[in-house]
Symmetry: C2
Subunit: 117 residues, 2 copies
């Protein structure tokens, strides 16, 4: 789509005289203005969206940090306790190794429910 600049054509390329021509030009100029306003709005919205997302991101990162910390602590606690009383057999089907691993990718897919009460 080669967009030529002003071609010095004098002929009736797209308009005939000054009557209909002017009207068309004016209408197009209005359309151009509308389009540009729209374009700017869109750009601004995109910029705003970046800021929103950055904020959400910060919140989420803090949340991850907090949760990771808590989880780490609880794991230590649990392991320390379990080392004293090795009765983890109660939690037979549970993937403790997986859950207690430092990694954070446990699915907790246990069907069996350890008798709670």
């Amino acid at each position: 789509m080669p967009r030529r600049g002003r071609v010095k054509k004098e002929g009736p390329e797209s308009g005939e005289d000054s009557d209909e021509y002017r009207k068309r030009r004016d209408r197009n100029n209005l359309a151009v203005k509308r389009s540009r306003v729209k374009s700017k709005q869109k750009t601004q919205e995109t910029v705003n969206r970046v800021n929103e997302l950055r904020n959400e991101n910060t919140v989420l990162e803090e949340k991850v940090k907090t949760l990771t910390k808590e989880l780490g602590f609880l794991k230590e606690l649990f392991l320390a306790h379990a080392s004293n009383n090795v009765d983890a057999s109660k939690y037979e089907g549970i993937n403790l190794q997986k859950l207690l691993a430092d990694d954070s990718s446990a699915s907790t897919s246990n069907d069996k429910n350890p008798g709670t009460t």
Copy 2:
């Protein structure tokens, strides 16, 4: 055919002859091009940034979800175990209530789990 609103009158505002004038015009046209390319690049980068942030966000949300799940499970586990052996006294100064609360904001009730059984 109207030539750019500017008629034959010499405009001492910005041009003088056809010599220096043309050079100035050409240089400005180049500058305009540069500026517009730059502007478009910036816009595009902003759009890209939105996509990047959206992806990061999704990842973080999943992470939060996983961590929350793990944490909830571990808390249940810990509480179930602690109800059998009330030796939480080993962790004297620790805010277990706070940590073990389902939420990350515990009330100011500092009761020591009197062991109902």
